[in-house]
Symmetry: C2
Subunit: 446 residues, 2 copies
């Protein structure tokens, strides 16, 4: 198991544009982040050190499921009749069933070490809330999760899992915050939104010095923690003397994709650019990299965060309720956006039909029902493997199966019954909705 996380910022040819303060237009400093995050995490957020040691206490918890297995998809290859070799790093073995605990555990650890008593966060479908509740239980922290009311009501399994790990779940809007009360006053039946849930979690954290806030993607320190995935994969592939030609990973906020690919990008940069093609895969209905604009925008819907330079569809763009909840984000991690702008990675968008078709094929051959998010990467891996059938190339393809789909089965039901609604960039309505949201990009002050 790796003992260090890797910080790609140390090796980039050019530095990514800094986050800006929305009031002044000046770069955000550590002091701006201090009310929400403990000092260790703020330091990691702005660090350019190449490696950060994984604390022994974090390694102890990682050992419950790490190193996660790297499997070769023999039976999938056979079903496709491809000469390609497909490997997948399986993160579904974690306590939350996804890659999220890789960062939840160190975030809880650093907060506990700083004397924080309680963490707050938001959750949509519930993956991130589950991971944080588990992590808090390991270090004696309380965990309060604001879950979007629509998910809270419709998908109780995740709420129960958070509670089983000892977390407390509030439907958002709640009457516990000003933001929540204001929404309830104007609409008592509000289904809530991720933006509002963030506002509630941040409000509670900002008011109490012993409470901090935790975020599950987008930020540099989150991607840093996730590099344990790629570091392990490098070691596992070296052990079987295998060199990867293509890496495909799904991207929502970017934490799974960054975690898998950054260590491989380090090797590629060190080799002067020789190395695998690295490809991000996103939903056609929420195509921030392939159809968005690279601009400064807010990270949240309500416009409370610093301005982040990123590929965005506009902070008030509301994606269709496709089933891959983890990929329904209007923007992209600034670090990954920078890589894309610099031409260091590629990007593709996939339809839901293609993704679930790949997911079902994977389940029937490899025996794991994937979460809807990684079916995007699987669909791209299948594309690549089928191209090898034509060319005869024995390409080595790597992807991360970032979670299982045990709590996402209704989405498979919709696909199998033919009632899945799909949206592609060819939909005029989608294009108009993105154009409208982009017309409302914030101005940079100063």
């Amino acid at each position: 198991m790796p003992t260090r996380w890797y910080n790609l910022l140390a090796d980039l040819p050019t530095a990514p544009p800094p986050p800006l303060h929305p009031g002044t237009g000046q770069p955000v400093g550590p002091e701006d982040l201090a009310p929400l995050f403990p000092a260790d995490l703020v330091a990691q957020e702005v660090s350019t050190e190449r490696y950060v040691d994984i604390p022994a206490e974090v390694q102890d918890v990682y050992r419950l499921w790490r190193p996660s297995p790297l499997y070769r998809a023999h039976r999938l290859e056979k079903a496709l009749g491809t000469p390609a070799r497909i490997y997948y790093k399986y993160e579904g073995v974690s306590p939350a069933g996804s890659h999220k605990p890789n960062t939840a555990v160190p975030q809880a650890y650093y907060n506990a070490r700083a004397g924080v008593r309680r963490l707050t966060t938001e959750t949509g479908a519930g993956q991130w809330g589950t991971a944080l509740a588990f992590a808090c239980a390991q270090f004696g922290l309380e965990c309060e999760v604001w879950q979007v009311r629509a998910s809270y009501d419709a998908k109780p399994y995740r709420r129960i899992m958070i509670e089983t790990f000892g977390g407390q779940v509030h439907p958002s809007p709640s009457d516990l915050t000003e933001a929540g009360r204001a929404m309830l006053a104007s609409d008592p039946d509000s289904p809530g939104s991720l933006g509002l849930a963030i506002s509630e979690a941040v409000e509670v954290a900002a008011q109490d010095p012993t409470t901090c806030y935790a975020l599950g993607s987008v930020l540099n320190h989150v991607l840093l923690h996730q590099t344990v995935i790629g570091e392990e994969a490098l070691l596992q592939l070296a052990k079987i003397d295998e060199t990867v030609n293509v890496i495909v990973g799904c991207t929502g906020g970017g934490s799974n994709f960054g975690g898998l690919t950054f260590p491989f990008l380090r090797e590629k940069l060190a080799a002067g650019g020789a190395g695998p093609v690295v490809r991000a895969v996103e939903p056609a209905s929420c195509p921030s990299l392939t159809q968005g604009t690279y601009a400064y925008d807010f990270g949240d819907v309500a416009g409370m965060t610093p301005l982040l330079k990123m590929h965005t569809l506009g902070h008030d763009f509301i994606p269709d309720p496709i089933h891959a909840g983890g990929l329904r984000y209007h923007g992209m991690s600034p670090l990954i956006s920078h890589l894309y702008a610099e031409g260091l990675i590629e990007a593709r968008a996939k339809t839901q039909q293609d993704c679930f078709a790949a997911g079902v094929l994977f389940a029937r051959t490899e025996g794991i029902v994937p979460a809807p998010e990684p079916t995007h990467a699987l669909a791209a891996a299948v594309d690549e493997a089928l191209a090898c059938v034509d060319t005869g190339q024995e390409k080595v393809i790597l992807t991360a199966l970032c979670g299982h789909g045990h709590l996402d089965l209704p989405a498979y039901d919709a696909y199998l019954r033919g009632s899945l609604v799909d949206h592609t960039w060819e939909d005029t309505e989608l294009q108009q909705s993105v154009a409208a949201a982009l017309s409302r990009l914030p101005a940079i002050p100063g």
Copy 2:
């Protein structure tokens, strides 16, 4: 990975009483089983050979998740403050999320080899149906599952998982069989029962020579296939030079318990009885070993099977709807009943409160939410570990975590909200209900 299954029948000091034909009272021969099972499985059912080679094709599929991990529960031990060392063999990594595919895969293989085109089975909560659907997909067989209507309606996730693996699910009673139609005629809103679902699956298999029936527990060949669990555990413990003092396993029909413990019992018998204490753990609300009678009884509710000598609560005893669906069986595998009658194993019954308390503690410390079934074994392991706190003994405890609880979260919800209904043997109503069912034990003809 082991390459042979182990047959405990080869090493028993005395042979278990044979199954009897319900019409003649004579022992059942292979020819009686031929209409339902292919010749290879019938041969395994009656074999007294010590080892059976695992076919290469079955090993290929096993490799998707086997060898399953053997973990030491460091964080649980620490939470209990025990000097004991607790190990658990985790079967939740399988495609179905439980130990069931260990036998579903060879059953599908032998059927496919015999030219069978389709397998039928019943499923209650859905674990066994999921395992068989996955196994059939590996060998090109069709799979039809009759799922108890009440579960089909209330717990759609398992049904969807079966369909994702390519299986077809019918709510039982269905209009596809005489048994189903008769029930629907008398009660169009019947919620169904496991007994009726068995009748429907058996009826379809018996009518079509290219269709066979598959059973997920109780029978000798099922327990034989499951011994891969115990064989792996022996190898894994030898690698770390650890000797087990106590083995605890949950028991419903007996396949998980037998699979884990039979290889250890072989070693114990070979050592003249020196070796670990072996303890079966069952629900207090369905206590076939601890409170049942050792007698010839039917394996199913409708009385269609051969008569089996087993610990039984009476074939028409209906257990309370406790959440551990896999442990709601009126009888016990004849092989395990024989071991208990001979004093080779112990048995305990646990309440649901104790089981879920252990399950929640396990989730918060070890990061895996257990299925309700293995929480019974965990509760017994916790008892044993806490006894070591008092005595200071450094006992080595082994159990099998035979499945995850991702699709059983509503049961945790009930426990956490205090609405879980518990039943113990002290309940007069339970005692009366068992006494009444036992008064209807079948007479042995001849």
